[in-house]
Symmetry: C2
Subunit: 251 residues, 2 copies
Amino acid sequence: MNDSSPPQGAQAVLRAVSLLKLFTSEQPEMSLAQLSQASGLNKTTTHRLLRALQSQALIDKNASTGSYSLGAGLMALGVQALASSDLRRRVRPMLKMLARETGETATLEVPVEDSMLILDEVAGRHVVAAAGNIGTRWPMHATSTGKVLLAFEAHRMEALPDSLPALAQRTMTSKDMLAQQLVEIRKRGFAESTDELEDGFAAVATVIRGALGDVQGALSIGGPSQRLGPAKRAELGAALCRAAARLRPEY
Amino acid sequence: MNDSSPPQGAQAVLRAVSLLKLFTSEQPEMSLAQLSQASGLNKTTTHRLLRALQSQALIDKNASTGSYSLGAGLMALGVQALASSDLRRRVRPMLKMLARETGETATLEVPVEDSMLILDEVAGRHVVAAAGNIGTRWPMHATSTGKVLLAFEAHRMEALPDSLPALAQRTMTSKDMLAQQLVEIRKRGFAESTDELEDGFAAVATVIRGALGDVQGALSIGGPSQRLGPAKRAELGAALCRAAARLRPEY
DNA sequence: GATCCCTCTGCCATATTATGAAACCCGCCC
DNA sequence: GGGCGGGTTTCATAATATGGCAGAGGGATC
């Protein structure tokens, strides 16, 4: 029925993956000690797992400093993953068009576990928005893309953690109020967020569907909240819905 | 001195990774039976590993067909890996410039294990070359980028497999003759390959170095061999060397 | 409707495999 | 020199993964 079954009997793999996931944009390099502590694993175990990963090029070790970082093998697998879902290639022209026509920044995002990953981004004319966000992940409840996915894929709502941390002034922190919003989102076909992810930032998003109606990701347009008032957001929402419809492959 | 040490004692991880690596551009989706057979693992074991990977979003399972594919989590990790080595961001403008000035296709490649991975690519004016090669991997001995890496990083030559498969008319299949070529490459600073990877395709490449002189990847320009004669190749090689020098960060 | 193939799940005895404490190095600083 | 904070290695222990088997569920094909 639902996904991410909690497996049993492969914890070496789980631990290895958890190590990989410790690397973030803020901490692109970590020492063995750091990794060991952050993961809660024994130093020896950590070391052994790292060596295994390193032998597969998923982890690089800076020979001089001795610190570890994500390796080229992950790039390879990641690029492979990107390529095998041709989502990005398919959507990119649309991102460009949206960015050009609206002047704001358009992004393509996909759900990864319980957050949204920015897969691609085309900056708009107004270069206020910080570019280079590709690869960052945001919690679902605070983003327009996340909310639209929550709205159209019921199981994601169940998987949502109980506490919704506040990231900005108007972040939804109540699951009940969020559920209420989703009804409206389903009705209109797109989601909005204003000062929910970051103060002064607003965005609108809709889902991207495959030929069979399966949800594959979300398309969004974002910019300064002052420039994206209610009327503008409604207009962008409609534009997004049209764009998404055109992205839908033939059956 | 150093190498990817053949580890012992984490074969669950190794097996899991080997499963991931089975997915190629030609086989982006595989069934349990296929994976099990291709990896030589017991079906039960394969299934268990897949579930573990799936729970971490490294593997996606198409719910209807039941077949597996690389998951969004890998995109996340891959993008993260790309970001943490800011190589791609740094080199991209240079790729564009090279493509524009030469009219040919420029690529950025990095070594992954014993092959070259195309990280980024900018198509030239002459749109003969097949685009969209990002993510593909080629053997080192048959590419200009691979050869230039072999030339400047001795340990890679040792790690090269004994048999060098022929991919095209003029592929180097003798390790000795290859070693001979490397001397010349080291002297000139760039490598060439003509009808070695694919009949009718030629390329020129040079290494990209970090602030400390560490080799980070390779830069190449490629196109139809008939358009890239000896003189042209020499010219391109010089241009590449200049470009690479400019890419070198300050110390 | 019967049959086949494949996935998924569970069970369980086996021993292979991972584990982590402790010890060992090594460069560094006091 | 002596202590210290890493990283690395060793080794006895037992926890863990393994894979054979078997059965349920689902799609296909015949």
